[in-house]
Amino acid sequence: MCATCGCGATDHTHDPNHDHDHTHEHEHAHDHRLVMLEHDVLAKNDRLAARNRALFAARHIAAFNFTSAPGAGKTALLQALIKQIGGRFPLAVIEGDQETDRDADRIRSTGAPVVQINTRTGCHLDAQMVNAAVTALDPPRGALLLIENVGNLVCPALFDLGERAKAVILSTTEGEDKPLKYPHMFRAAGIVVLTKVDLLPHLDFDLEACLANIRRVNPDARVFQVSSKTGVGLPAFCDFMASQVAATAA
């Protein structure tokens, strides 16, 4: 069949410039031009994170970005850490959750200044949100800034907030294979805190396998073993944080 007029013959041709008694809507013919960009997709966030980092450096603020799965014990660890620090140096806290001020209320009960960010539909904190929270908090010179990200082991791995390091929290009730299941986050973190170690006698948790899994994903991570409930391991973690504050001030 002829594709142009639909008749059964195939041995005829149609003049491409044939006349019509109607007009066509013709698209404009466009030439295309290639624009080289070589632009990182997250460049804007990275730029804002760099601005936060410069602000932290100027004020000698040591900022840490705490991430974990929901329920790993981020807020409990921060509460225990704040208590352990006991006012030796100033600190401030940014809390990130989809909804509610519950975590900020828990931090406030320790006496530490805190700002709650609700991300609503967002699954992670970004550098702009942290910038606004830091402006509101106005932490003093030489402060430790603890940023608790939204409970999520996937998305926060990609968003730099301007922190000195990410600290990923893994609780013993989650299983020793978490680092292998969520390698992006464990790879991005300079610090891994294994929490709820007081539960080890009651769990089939293979501590050595867990530490090996962490090393496999991130051979350079500093690993701490802590119980926020009993205080085991807290002094060592607190001393490390104090050394970070001192290093930032130097």
Binding site: H30, D31, H32, L37, E38, D40, V41, R216, P219
Partner: protein, 111 residues
Amino acid sequence: MHELAITESLVAAVAENVGTARVARVRLQVGQLAGVLPSALQFCFEACARGTPLEGATLQIDEIAARGRCRACRAEMPMLTFVDACACGGLEVDLLSGQELRIKDVEVEVQ
């Protein structure tokens, strides 16, 4: 679903760079270990591009293979995951490529 935020950043970054020109195609490089799902980016792109110079544009995603170097024997190797072991038995491998998330180039219409 961080791909939505990433696609919003992608559309904003391209729009900032092309002015009012209509965009026909965006070429994006995504490393295999970038932590971003290409199909999810495609899913978000149409919605994010609506009402911008990128509306109706094609999103072309070129995946970049991940490569690593073994700390023990210094050999280079392809990486399918962050925890691939080296043939020598080494478990500590530094990533050389595969975390890219970069807008390579953009094809714009010239009126």
